[in-house]
């Protein structure tokens, strides 16, 4: 158990130190004021349909803001907000959220049968090969653990439908391409607390 916690702590420390071009966490905090209304004052949301950003992979955050800014990822609120961002602001905001402590699992014990099914789906589709065994991501993939099932469900459906773009070579569009609705529902429950 101590080994697991130590390992998780080591991984968590990795987030905060993600390298990027010229980022300023303090400037990011200031510029991220408008974000807090939806994403929370600590980057942890109260609205289950909105993702927590605290402790997310820095480059993943940058890419999502770039996609929102260009419209490649469609969302009325985010498209409008991101349109105003300069490259520098975008980098600073990403650095800020990446530096925050990650959200705990959403409250409420999951349905054990559904959670187990989600674990099997994740094993079959090899999600851990990019998102790592604890689903906190790597430099290749974002953290997907501890998001609410509502958000994760929508994210996977959007990837499956190619309604949102994947960074790199369409990886998530392909990876989610063959998931069924039941697979997605189960995965969404499992990823709330994959530990």
């Amino acid at each position: 158990m101590r080994t697991l916690l130590a390992a998780l702590a080591a991984v968590a420390a990795c987030f905060a130190a993600s390298p990027s071009s010229a980022r300023d966490v303090e400037a990011g905090r200031a510029r991220a004021e408008p974000c807090m209304a939806c994403h929370g004052t600590e980057g942890i949301t109260a609205d289950p349909s909105i993702p927590s950003l605290a402790g997310q992979r820095e480059r993943y955050l940058q890419w999502q803001l770039v996609f929102f800014r260009s419209g490649r990822r469609a969302n009325e609120v985010m498209n409008a907000l991101a349109a105003e961002l300069s490259d520098e602001e975008l980098r600073n905001i990403s650095a800020y959220f990446a530096s925050l402590p990650r959200a705990n699992p959403p409250a409420g014990p999951p349905d054990p049968a559904l959670r187990d099914k989600g674990k099997q789906v994740a094993a079959r589709h090899r999600c851990a090969s990019c998102h790592m065994d604890n689903y906190t991501g790597s430099q290749a993939a974002p953290s997907v653990a501890h998001q609410t099932r509502i958000y994760t469900d929508k994210a996977l459906r959007d990837y499956r439908a190619a309604a949102r773009p994947s960074v790199g070579v369409a990886a998530m569009n392909e990876a989610a391409g063959s998931l069924t609705d039941d697979d997605i529902a189960a995965l969404a429950v499992y990823l709330e607390q994959p530990e």
Binding site: A13, S21, A123, G168, A170, A175
Partner: protein, 420 residues
């Protein structure tokens, strides 16, 4: 950050994950390795969603292609990075243009416009110079991985995943590019290894790669080769058994086509080597999937074939160095001994626990492929074990004989020049 390598981290997590699994009593271990076998028809009836990535080994678990910065690196930081680049005496490197999203292949227009393709950004750029100042404009948007560009007879050619397009009189229409003519589109639509490099010879024949849409397996029809398409539309397979090639050039001494090739992943950090190849005879088979690096039968897919049956590389370039764009040096600025040498942009590893590459190599070799030697020409874009400050993707000789480098990680183009 990325100083903390995956290798150091994973044993602890793997052990912890196994411990957690036993504690929770779940049936399937979280630490399951990926593996697949595409040699059976049943595979294709239900292909796993990550089939293009490849088998995983315990030794190399956790490796995946790293995601770069989402915005181009600011100029000040680029200049800082360039201070760390090592070059031979007399050479210097500077920023030629910055602020491009994922620039890839470069090509000169007749009037000095530099056209640049891109990887995932869907764009084609034009870099122009006015009153001593350089401007970058996005002249095309919304294309499907338009990595390859070429220029001939006033027209810009762009090759996307499955379309070869021609934009006539491009240089005079940069502000409002014309509708393209579809020159050729008889290509598969696979995205993995489907992005292309475009070379044109004096007669206007177009050379490009069609890569295999996965790591290792029996290539689907219409993949794993270099194709040459004539202006008449007639296409030929001039090289087969080629896994994934994103760079090539015509030897000015002989007219023969040479190309770089990326070898398979998930064998080990050290094998197989990536390759520099020469087409001596049209239709030659370069070994994939049966034989790698000229002398290494594939553990699963050799299927009884012998490496002697195939054409070996001119030079093994190193394992997981990712050689991409290449050019024969035809300029007059560099010292005479550089004439007709090959410069190769190495993009750098992802499937290696300690990345290598991310540099420009110089290859000296006879026209018949003999006596090949390579040395580092420009290096210093690797930071730590698994991160980059830049990743070279292409090289191009400028009119004044300097060498341009496209870096799709930092979003910039550099210029290497020589002064006595």
């Amino acid at each position: 950050m990325a100083k903390m390598s995956v290798l150091k981290r994973s044993p602890g997590i793997a052990a912890a994950a196994v411990a957690a699994t036993l504690t929770l009593g779940a049936g399937i271990a979280a630490a399951q390795l990926k593996s697949y076998d595409s040699s059976k028809p049943s595979f294709w009836q239900n292909a796993p969603p990550d089939w293009f990535l490849g088998d995983e080994t315990e030794e190399m678990k956790g490796l995946a292609p790293p995601v770069g910065p989402a915005t181009p690196t600011p100029l000040a930081e680029l200049q800082d990075n360039l201070k760390k680049i090592k070059l031979p005496p007399g050479f210097r490197i500077e920023v030629y243009a910055s602020g491009l999203q994922e620039p890839r292949q470069m090509a000169w227009g007749d009037n000095g416009t530099l056209f640049v393709g891109s990887f995932g950004a869907q764009n084609v750029y034009a870099v122009t110079e006015k009153d001593g100042k350089r401007n970058v404009t996005t002249i095309l948007k919304g294309l499907n991985m338009p990595t390859g560009v070429a220029f001939r007879d006033g027209a810009l050619y762009v090759v996307a995943i499955d379309k070869l397009l021609r934009y006539d009189q491009a240089e005079s229409k940069l502000d409002a590019m014309p509708q393209p003519v579809v020159v050729y589109d008889d290509m598969p639509s696979y995205l993995p290894h489907g992005w292309k490099y475009l070379v044109m010879d004096r007669e206007g024949a177009m050379y490009f790669n069609v890569g295999v849409p996965f790591n290792i397996g029996i290539p689907p029809t219409s993949t794993a080769h270099i194709r040459r398409v004539h202006q008449s539309g007639h296409g030929e397979l001039i090289a087969t058994g080629v896994r994934n090639s994103v760079g090539g050039d015509i030897d000015p001494r002989t007219g023969q086509f040479w190309f770089t090739e990326n070898a398979r992943d998930w064998m080990s950090d050290e094998i197989p080597s990536d390759k520099l190849n020469r087409i001596g005879r049209i239709g030659e088979h370069f070994g994939y999937p049966y034989c790698h690096q000229g002398d290494l039968p594939d553990p699963k897919f050799a299927m009884g074939r012998k490496c002697e049956e195939f054409t070996a590389p001119v030079l093994k370039l190193g394992a997981h160095v990712a050689p991409l764009g290449m050019k024969f040096y035809t300029g007059n600025q560099f010292p005479a001994e550089y004439r007709n040498n090959i410069f190769i942009a190495q993009h750098g590893s992802w499937n290696r626990r300690k990345y290598q590459g991310a540099r420009i190599m110089r290859v000296v070799v006879d026209p018949d492929g003999k006596n090949a030697k390579q040395e580092v020409f420009a290096e210093g874009w690797l930071t730590g074990d698994q991160d980059y400050s830049g990743r070279p993707a292409d090289v191009l000789v400028a009119r004044d004989g300097s060498l341009l480098i496209a870096d799709d990680w930092a979003g910039a183009i550099y210029r290497i020049s020589y002064a006595r």
